[in-house]
């Protein structure tokens, strides 16, 4: 002991130091690792601290369940380069174009479909801005609705499996990766349905916002399906593997990535783009490697801090304190969710979760909430932050893409940022309704994973 503090005080001092370092802009993995190391030094002395610190980067990384992460990330990048987005949007517009606000509804359906092969919200918003905005504006859709639907549609990627953030949650809180992935499916669809109802309602009430487009024949509709088959295959593979337990999530991820890769290969061969393909494949691989390294580094850095917190007994003390509060658990839960909403406005969702869960999670469980349910709720909150000011990265992406877009007469299709933020308003309300629904009807989340028991 250097300062001579008791365990609890050392824990509190450690949390304060971590907050200061993170606020000062120190990279989260380093801030957590150095705080954890100093805390262990104070509580257990140099020998133990050094020994734990030396082991954690290896021991916390080399765990089989985490091996699914790079594969899920790879599926997303490959699907993106394979051009699945345009095919999905075309299929969705042929099937859903006839309803009020049909193109906006098609955009939601297409982003939900793409979410089944990608876990990256902002990238999804960027790709669909390019695909859907010109078509919607050409058909006279309201600019704000157009921008709002693309920015909000992107957020579906984190809930619908494969989702890297849900895998990370499962690892941190030591829950089944398979259950978390299954649990995200219905809430993801439910979010999409709430968006669709909102769009249809708005466009039915004010038809000038977005009218139905021409109806397609059943033949035309079915013709659009083959181009989207890889997505259905990936969904089927991941679900059947997890649900039946016939393959581990890593194996399912490998098979899913292979399906998308083969589709990409076939498409590149058919369209004579083999020369372009090798460059894009390399790009997909190096992007996947970078994102994986970023996530793994964060995980081992924070685990050093978590080990210190465990020795300090802080998570246990925090949960013991939370359960003695004389307020209903739902009020505490709403406070926790609001805190996440605020934090998420300033921090990357994965970093926010890894950093806060070690303390917050035991308290949530002590209050009697289901661990799987909480994972989905908290990821949904993190996603909402992607469409709320001041950061709202998805909104910036939509505004940015629209700046480069032109119609066939060379007229700019730019949607100013303030219009994007205004357009996102109804979708933000829809998200609040979605979260309220998930709070009121937890079965939406827990039903599918409960079937695995």
């Amino acid at each position: 002991m250097i300062l001579g503090l008791d365990e609890f005080s050392t824990g509190i001092a450690g949390v304060c130091l971590l907050i200061v370092l993170v606020l000062l802009g120190v990279r989260v993995f380093a801030a957590a690792a150095i705080t954890g190391f100093l805390g262990l030094l104070e509580l257990k002395g140099w020998h133990v601290a050094a020994s734990i610190a030396g082991q954690i980067p290896h021991s916390k990384t080399v765990t089989y369940p985490l091996s699914v992460l790079p594969l899920f990330i790879l599926i997303g990048f490959l699907a993106f380069y394979a051009g699945l987005t345009t095919r999905l949007f075309e299929a969705a517009r042929r099937w859903m174009g006839w309803v009020p606000g049909g193109l906006a509804v098609a955009t939601v359906m297409a982003t939900a479909g793409f979410a089944a092969v990608s876990g990256a919200s902002t990238a999804t918003a960027a790709v669909f801005s390019r695909v859907a905005i010109p078509d919607m504006l050409k058909n006279g859709y309201d600019k704000r609705l157009t921008a709002g639907v693309v920015a909000a549609g992107g957020t579906l990627a984190s809930l619908i499996p494969p989702s890297a953030i849900l895998v990370i949650y499962a690892i941190i809180v030591e829950q089944s990766v398979g259950k978390l992935l299954l649990a995200g499916f219905l809430p993801g669809l439910y979010s999409a349905v709430v968006y669709v109802v909102l769009i249809v309602g708005m466009c039915w009430w004010k038809p000038e916002l977005g009218s139905p487009i021409k109806s397609f024949s059943w033949k035309e509709r079915f013709q659009s399906i083959p181009g989207t088959l890889p997505i259905f295959l990936v969904v089927a593979i991941i679900f059947s593997a997890i649900y039946t337990g016939s393959a581990t999530p890593t194996e399912a991820g490998a098979l899913g990535a292979m399906v998308v890769f083969l589709f990409y290969l076939w498409r590149a061969f058919r369209e004579n783009e083999m020369s372009k393909m090798s460059g894009r494949l390399k790009e997909a691989l190096i992007e996947t490697a970078r994102l994986s390294a970023m996530i793994f580094t964060l995980i081992w850095g924070v685990f050093l801090f978590v080990r210190f917190l465990g020795f300090a007994g802080l998570p246990a003390a925090f949960s013991a304190w939370v359960v003695t509060l004389d307020v209903p658990p739902i009020v505490i839960m709403i406070c926790i969710l609001l805190a996440y909403a605020i934090l998420g406005m300033f921090m990357d969702a994965i970093g926010m979760l890894i950093l806060t869960l070690p303390v917050v999670y035991p308290a949530v469980i002590a209050l009697g909430y289901d661990p799987i349910w909480f994972g989905i709720i908290v990821v949904k909150m993190a996603e909402i932050c992607l469409i709320t000011p001041p950061i709202g990265l998805n909104c910036f992406v939509v505004a940015g893409v629209s700046r480069d877009l032109q119609d066939e007469n060379g007229k700019s299709l730019e949607i100013p940022l303030q219009d994007v933020f205004r357009g996102i308003g109804p979708f933000f309300v829809a998200d609040v309704i979605t979260v309220a629904g998930l709070l009121a009807f937890p079965g939406i989340i827990t039903w599918l994973p409960s079937l695995m028991d």
């Binding site: 120190v26 989260v28 050094a50 089989y64 390399k282 490697a289 390294a293 580094t297």
Partner: protein, 203 residues
């Protein structure tokens, strides 16, 4: 002072040269990590085929996957640092300008250097224990020392990158008029969005 004269001081030249030497190594390590992930995809496929069709799964599949995982985790760590990709919160530093910003960045990198420098010898001891005791995995008795050795090696590469960035930020703190050399510059939300858009346009 024009731009060219703001980044041609002696230290800038040294940092540029060091950056030019280290960057290709980092890029190669990053690519190797990507290739290993691609390999993991094929290995997973092979495992499924062998297990379901031939009822003979790859012996020690989990051991092999776990042994390569350290590579995905660490091979790109220094390149991500170079690109400013490790997660952080910019709520306060985002408001800083000039010398105050560069001083905050210098302190941030110095803190990173301290923890990385502490981790290197102790992760090396972890490797040495595995080496001297002949530690191996349970199923196929794969030696664990190569994976454990990769930790201090990659942390050394990261430490070199951090040293370059520390000097780079210190140089800017001493004279904020200079142009940044060999350091990632903080991006605004607009610039981050711009990068996503650039990525999306390649599809």
């Amino acid at each position: 002072m024009d731009k060219s004269s703001r980044d041609d001081d002696g230290l800038a030249k040294l940092l540029k040269r060091a950056d030019r030497l280290l960057s290709p190594v980092e890029d190669a390590l990053n690519l190797l990590s990507g290739i290993l992930i691609f390999g993991l995809m094929f290995l997973g496929m092979l495992q499924i085929i062998l297990r379901t069709v031939f009822r003979s799964p790859i012996f020690g599949y989990i051991d092999i996957v776990e042994a390569t995982m350290i590579a995905f985790a660490l091979l790109s760590i220094s390149q991500v640092q170079r690109l400013g990709g490790h997660v952080r919160m910019e709520i306060l530093v985002g408001y800083l300008k000039g010398a105050a910003l560069w001083a905050a960045e210098t302190i941030g990198v110095a803190i990173q250097m301290i923890i990385v420098a502490v981790l290197i010898p102790y992760s090396y001891s972890h490797f040495m224990r595995a080496w001297s005791f002949g530690d191996s995995t349970i199923d196929i008795e794969l030696p664990t020392w190569p994976a454990k050795l990769l930790v201090p090696v990659m942390l050394c590469v990261l430490l070199i990158r951090l040293a370059i960035q520390l000097l780079g930020y210190a140089r800017l703190t001493a004279n904020p008029e200079r142009s940044p050399v060999a350091v990632p510059v903080m991006k605004t939300v607009e610039q981050q969005a711009e990068e996503e858009i650039k990525g999306a346009s390649t599809s």
